[in-house]
């Protein structure tokens, strides 16, 4: 178990380094420097700017410095567009917001999805089961950028129940969380349902029932754990999807999270901020996948490396 965990960590660290180096090389190879604009800069000014940001160093030194600053000080350097702001400040302003509704959405998607899936499997072929299946088929075509305008249309413009955006308190959290979690909730419900159905048909469940255990104990103690394996392996992709989806949420609901900084920097060609966000999101994803892998190895005793 410990060897397995260490092995996973040993894979995660080079992955992160590769991600940093690749995004740095992409930025370096891009046509036009960060200071290319409509107004041609005098060569001396350009040289001074390049010297200030360390862009006249040899490539290996630039990469080395960049990686070193991130690893040792979590420092992504200065923004290329806003002269008085660092990438850390820009990201730091939005990150708590993204984290809040991201975690909420994740918890909602997992708890509602798993409960719905288990309920549908236990009441197989009932109205509840059909409703759950119908919902999960429908939600496949309702990604966050479709859910967001529909929610605003219904709850803000027609019913007037909820504010259409902003980040001022729990009632502004509701729509972002629903928009972000719906499609993942549906997927989790579908995966839970089919794996639960399979587990409920297996021999150890029949044995548990035969020895006279009450049904809720059979389901919670004997069926749930093995049925969770496919769900856990879906959590990684779901996490990536939610992180990506947060960009839409920030743009559409003006929540002020990190996605707004990302799209703004994409439109401004502020490479430093874009890279900072990409690397941060990549690091989060890799860490999360690491946790999921370890969790998987812990739940499933058959996994041996």
């Amino acid at each position: 178990m410990i060897a397995y965990t260490l092995k996973r960590i040993a894979i995660a660290i080079p992955t992160l380094l590769v991600l940093i180096v690749i995004s740095f090389l992409l930025m370096h190879a891009a046509p036009g420097g960060p200071f290319t604009s409509e107004r041609e800069l005098p060569p001396q000014v350009l040289a001074n700017l390049n010297a200030k940001y360390g862009l006249d160093d040899p490539l290996w030194k630039q990469i080395g410095t960049y990686v070193w600053n991130i690893v040792t000080g979590f420092d992504f350097g200065p923004s290329f567009v806003y002269k008085d702001r660092t990438v850390n400040e820009i990201i730091g302003a939005g990150f708590p917001i993204t984290l809040t509704y991201g975690l909420l959405s994740f918890v909602v998607a997992v708890t509602v999805g798993v409960s719905l899936g288990v309920a549908a499997a236990v009441r197989h072929n009932s109205a509840l089961d059909y409703a759950a299946v119908g919902l999960s088929i429908g939600a496949q075509v309702l990604p966050n950028f479709v859910m967001a305008p529909i929610l605003v249309l219904v709850f803000t413009l027609w019913l007037g129940w909820l504010p259409g955006g902003g980040w001022q308190g729990p009632e502004t959290w509701i729509m972002p969380v629903i928009a972000l979690s719906t499609s993942f909730m549906a997927s989790i419900a579908r995966i839970t349902r089919s794996s639960m159905l399979e587990v409920l048909g297996s021999n150890h469940i029949r044995a548990a029932r035969a020895k006279g255990l009450p049904e809720h104990r059979v389901i919670l103690r004997h069926a749930l754990k093995p049925a969770m394996l496919p769900v856990i392996s879906y959590l990684g992709p779901a996490f990536v999807g939610m992180i990506t989806g947060s960009v839409v949420i920030d743009i559409y609901f003006s929540t002020g999270g990190i996605g707004k900084a990302f799209v703004d920097s994409a439109l401004n060609r502020d490479y430093a901020v874009m890279m900072g966000v990409t690397i941060l999101m990549g690091a989060l994803t890799i860490t999360f996948n690491l946790v999921v892998d370890i969790l998987y190895g812990w739940i499933d005793p058959k996994i041996r490396y």
Binding site: I22, A30, F145, P149, A266, R269, Y271, M274, M275, G282
Partner: protein, 303 residues
């Protein structure tokens, strides 16, 4: 009597000999959801290809009669010739939806093709050679899969200009990993078969064996996952276009149209969101249903 006649027909049919593909086709068309998906796809494709012929306006000219009063005058109507209404600038939404559907379908199909070719070659190579090559190649796939590609793709689009070619290729290049895994698994089980052994014994080289003996036997699996990849490609493209970073004006895609419509719902022009959304959902439903149907038809052991 009728039942007996049917039974005789059922029994006689295998004697006539059905190919694998004919068998799959029969199963596919018996599946109601798949059939519905197929009909939807035919309709959406026809709309994308020939819908332009019915348009009374081009997607680029402005209708000065409704300009400035889009919310009052720009709604869907047969009288003005704007079947789906106009967009915020007074352009015909019907013509723009036709164009958006074309672009979205094209991105979906081309992206899925790229993902298929790369994923199949990669997976078949890893699976066929096995051993250390395989474990290195698949470890790389594991690493690639842990990266949030949407950000990298947007990074690429911004740095190298927001051209539609990069969008097409990029969407495909970020999605081949799942395909590579599936193909590798299938190749592992195929390469021990006698016909591969026979080919190897007669001295056929590895690339030829992969291209002539392994890949043709995987076509069923590839077809299924290709169909399921198309809607994912469309989702990716629409996501990027929704953020305003994908397809650029005057060209449009369903994602860009949904984005425009979503931005103007506060002014009471709900049709600007509704029609693109309808075609978006129809297209996705169609591909998902057909993909699931194909999986059931081509992979009977999985039912």
């Amino acid at each position: 009597m009728v039942a007996t006649a049917e039974q005789t027909a059922e029994q006689a049919a295998p004697a006539a000999g059905r190919s694998l593909w004919a068998d799959a086709r029969r199963r596919f068309f018996r599946n109601r959801a798949a059939l519905l998906g197929f009909v939807i796809l035919v309709f959406v494709t026809a709309f994308a290809l020939f819908g332009g012929a019915l348009a009374q306006w081009s997607g680029e000219e402005l209708d000065y009669a409704v300009m400035g009063q889009v919310a009052e005058l720009g709604g869907p109507s047969l009288a003005t010739g704007h079947y789906f209404g106009t967009d915020d600038l007074g352009r015909d939404l019907y013509a723009r939806t036709v164009q958006g559907t074309q672009i979205s379908l094209a991105v979906g199909v081309i992206g899925a093709l790229i993902a298929c070719v790369v994923g199949t070659l990669y997976g078949a190579t890893a699976g066929y050679f096995g051993g250390r090559t395989d474990s290195v190649m698949m470890r790389l796939v594991d690493i690639f899969m842990a990266v949030p590609y949407m950000f990298i793709l947007i990074l690429l689009l911004v740095m190298y200009g927001r051209s539609i070619t990069i969008l097409f290729i990029g969407v495909g290049l970020i999605s081949w990993m799942e395909m590579a895994r599936i193909v590798r698994g299938q190749t592992l089980s195929l390469k021990g078969r006698e016909f591969v052994e026979a080919a190897r014994a007669t001295g056929v080289s590895a690339p030829v064996i992969i291209a002539r003996h392994i890949v043709p036997n995987l076509l069923g699996v590839i077809a299924v996952y290709a169909t399921l990849l198309v809607p994912l490609m469309i989702l990716t493209e629409s996501f990027i276009s929704f953020l305003g970073l994908g397809v650029q004006e005057p060209m449009t895609s369903l994602g860009a149209l949904i984005s425009e419509g979503a931005g103007t719902i506060a002014y009471g022009t709900t049709w600007q969101l509704g029609f693109p959304l309808l075609f978006f959902c129809l297209t996705l439903f169609g591909f998902f249903f057909v993909g699931d149907g194909l999986r059931d038809a081509l992979d009977p052991k999985d039912r």
